[in-house]
């Protein structure tokens, strides 16, 4: 589903991501963890086509993001850490805009918006301007927008930030259902407990380099993910 080969991205003299390789198959949820500035957002943005890598190749469902960006974007969705959306639109207008671009039919989009809006508890607020929404409400709108076209691959950058406990719980359920139905999710998070419970794969990045990657049980071993993460952070220091 997602294949990253030797991804390298530099900003001037700083190497944000250094020769990173990992892959994700259908049905897998991979947590991407690392310290602040480790290169998580850069990696996710490169997968989404928002950044051009300096070297390496990223394929989504067998298609190169560099050569077929539009086709790749059709089958995936991206939720950034800071959902700066079109504040001048209402929630419904924004969701309809996204649905129009993805070519979602009227019946499908109405059903999805109703379903996800009720699940995340935001239906009443969708008629108002996004500018009047709190961060958490914007995050929920971004989640609905990402799921409206039923993507195969979902890329998320710290999706649980700002969500209330009920919404966070619902999002975890949605993520599990998505992967059970054959989709894949690659997301970054600092909430290691969620990563442990939800994910079957984990990738740990430090200073742009992948220092651990594989099935959750293998990477974690007998200890907790937090312990492993802290040990790895100290080891490579």
């Amino acid at each position: 589903m997602l294949n990253i080969q030797n991804l390298t991205k530099r900003y001037g003299s700083k190497t944000a991501v250094d020769n990173l390789s990992l892959s994700l198959e259908a049905g897998e949820i991979c947590a991407f963890i690392g310290h602040n500035g480790a290169g998580k957002t850069t990696t996710l943005k490169a997968c989404c086509g928002l950044l051009t890598p300096d070297s390496g190749e990223i394929t989504i469902d067998g298609m190169s993001i560099r050569e077929k960006p539009i086709e790749c974007k059709r089958v995936m969705a991206y939720i950034p850490d800071n959902p700066d959306m079109y504040e001048f639109l209402t929630g419904y207008e924004y969701l309809n805009f996204v649905a129009d671009v993805y070519g979602v039919s009227k019946a499908d989009r109405e059903a999805r918006i109703q379903e996800l809006g009720t699940l995340l508890g935001i239906t009443d607020a969708l008629g108002g301007a996004i500018s009047e929404c709190s961060h958490g409400m914007k995050q929920k709108i971004a989640i609905i927008a990402a799921l409206i076209h039923k993507p195969k691959l979902i890329l998320m950058d710290e999706p649980f930030v700002g969500l209330d406990p009920v919404a966070a719980h619902q999002l975890k359920n949605l993520m599990a259902e998505h992967c059970a139905a054959g989709g894949a999710i690659f997301f970054s998070t600092h909430v290691l407990e969620v990563a442990e419970k939800l994910c079957n794969k984990v990738a740990i990045i430090k200073n742009g380099k992948l220092i651990a990657y594989g099935p959750m049980d293998e990477v974690r071993g007998d200890s907790s993910l937090e312990t492993v993460f802290l040990e790895l952070e100290e080891e490579k220091a």
Partner: protein, 528 residues
């Protein structure tokens, strides 16, 4: 305070660079254009003061300076009030700064530095010609010079105080209405109507002023003492000078204190229920193609942003107002045209020129790429090509500009009695030029995008792409006017044929730019 000023200055300097790079080319362009505009204004004010310098011959030097001061303050307030409102109350870092241990007064004063520069520019644009003209005819003494300098400073502070007070009123008003953009546009239009009324009657007003100097002087001296004191201050009267400086300084200090005291409440007023919360509504989904969806989104952006609408939408209103004005003053127009009988055949060219001038100032597409701002990730993460995005932005520009330009040209052609072919060609050229301006605006914005703005005044008013689009299209317009004149006078071709050839050339130029936009522009957008 030093830190805040440093941030404001860094922000100003950073914004003058292109995409944060070291290149100062775009900043130099903007400064160059601003200087050009300023010089044009100086010419107008020189002409104005040369009519009123007669007051000094009557021994009413103070009245001359009092009027100069009044006009300077009015001009500065008109020019700066919207910018004051957006810089003080709509800046995106207000909440960040207020959350820090910084007194609201310091935040206000640090923003005031930039505003004072703008207000000072407007004020001095009016005062300098008045002073220079007086100096040339009547000479300067050291006392007068000191009076001029100190009263100028006082007037700048007074103008800024008025801008802040009016900006506060404007902010309160905008916070309580749903569609702020339309309200701002109406406000701007009313000001423009007043401005044009004064402008069109300026000569009459100035003549009446010059003729009734003595009566006006007596009235002002009796009833409006500050104006009298201002005038006396500029003639070198020390007591008046001190009074004016103290008065203006006190007004500025009072306004700053009042604003600082209410700053937190004013800035947070919108979030604290200052705006009616929207009621829950049903989703009225209407399925559109990606192109239409993007175009619709751009239109919503345009109609809901006061800065965007007032800066780019005024030109559209002018285009719509031209034929209305032509209909109202039809008889006067026809009288004027009767006097221009030898050049009557090229009158359609003047129609096109006037419309093109207005179209150039309505470069709606020019800030549209920059206005994506921090939301750029939305459109870039969606499965839509850069070509469709840019065509969506262009479509919005054309949907607004082209119909109104075409109708305006047709009505103008009818009113002034152009032939049917000339009228159709004029309408065609107006439409083509509207398309051209739209494409050029996008190309220039792709060359010089700015996504780091704190408020929309950045991309709409202070960006090189907007300035270059406006003045670049003026240049193109004059170039085509030159081609028209050349074909008509040198080549001896009929005026209608000249118009048709210009239309063909413009069509080719627009098509060429369109191809550039959809190919190079698309790749450029996808790399942003």
């Amino acid at each position: 305070m030093k830190t805040l000023l440093r941030i404001q200055m860094k922000n100003m300097l950073f914004r003058m660079r292109q995409n944060g790079s070291k290149k100062k080319a775009s900043g130099a362009w903007v400064i160059g254009l601003l200087i050009f505009v300023l010089l044009c204004m100086e010419v107008i004010f020189f002409a104005m003061w040369s009519q009123l310098i007669a007051f000094c011959d009557m021994g009413l030097d103070w009245l001359y300076f009092a009027l100069a001061g009044l006009v300077a303050v009015a001009f500065a307030v008109f020019g700066s009030v919207f910018m004051t409102q957006t810089q003080l109350y709509d800046a995106k870092d207000n909440e960040l700064l207020l959350s820090m241990p910084i007194r609201p007064m310091w935040i206000l004063l640090s923003r005031m530095v930039v505003l004072l520069v703008m207000t000072g520019a407007f004020t001095l644009a009016v005062l300098l010609p008045a002073f220079v003209l007086y100096g040339v005819f009547y000479g300067v003494t050291a006392l007068k010079l000191i009076g001029w300098v100190l009263s100028s400073i006082g007037l700048i502070l007074l103008a800024q105080a008025l801008c802040c007070a009016l900006g506060w009123v404007l902010h309160q008003f905008l916070a309580r209405i749903r569609n702020k953009a339309i309200a701002s546009l109406v406000y701007m239009v009313l000001f423009l109507v007043a401005y044009f009324y004064i402008y069109t009657n300026a000569n009459t007003l100035l003549t009446q002023l010059a003729q009734n100097g003595a009566e006006i002087a007596a009235a002002v001296q009796g009833a409006v003492w500050p104006l009298y004191a201002l005038g006396q201050a500029c003639t070198g009267d020390i007591l008046s000078l001190l009074s004016i400086v103290l008065l203006c300084g006190a007004a500025f200090a009072l306004v700053c204190w009042a604003l600082a005291a209410s700053f937190v409440k004013t800035v947070s007023g919108r979030q604290a229920g200052g705006v009616r919360r929207s009621k829950a509504v049903r989703n009225d989904a209407r399925v559109q193609s990606p192109l239409r969806a993007i175009s619709h989104k751009e239109l919503r952006k345009f109609l809901t942003s006061s800065v965007y609408l007032t800066n780019m939408g005024l030109g559209v209103i002018l285009i719509a107002a031209l034929p209305v004005a032509a209909l109202i003053f039809r008889s006067k127009l026809l009288e004027l045209l009767a006097m221009m009988e030898p050049i009557r055949p090229i009158v359609p060219g003047f129609v096109v020129l006037a419309l093109s001038f207005c179209i150039s100032t309505s470069c709606i597409s020019a800030p549209s790429v920059s206005l994506e701002g921090k939301s750029l990730w939305v459109i870039r993460s969606l499965p839509v090509s850069g070509r469709i995005v840019l065509l969506g932005k262009l479509r919005m520009h054309c949907l607004i500009m082209l119909p109104v330009s075409a109708v305006s040209a047709l009505v103008l052609g009818f009113v002034i009695g152009c032939s049917i072919w000339d009228t159709i060609l004029a309408a065609g050229i107006a439409v083509l030029f509207g398309w051209f301006v739209g494409v050029v605006g996008l190309v220039l914005n792709l060359l010089m995008p700015r996504f780091d703005w704190i408020n929309e005044a950045g991309p709409c008013k202070q960006s090189a792409s907007v300035m270059l689009t406006i003045f670049g299209c003026y240049f193109v317009m004059l170039l085509f006017a030159g081609i028209f004149v050349l074909l008509y006078s040198a080549a001896g071709l009929p005026a209608t044929l000249c118009l048709a050839l210009c239309a063909a050339l413009l069509c080719a130029a627009s098509a060429g730019m369109h191809v550039l936009l959809t190919h190079w522009g698309a790749r450029r957008f996808e790399a942003l």
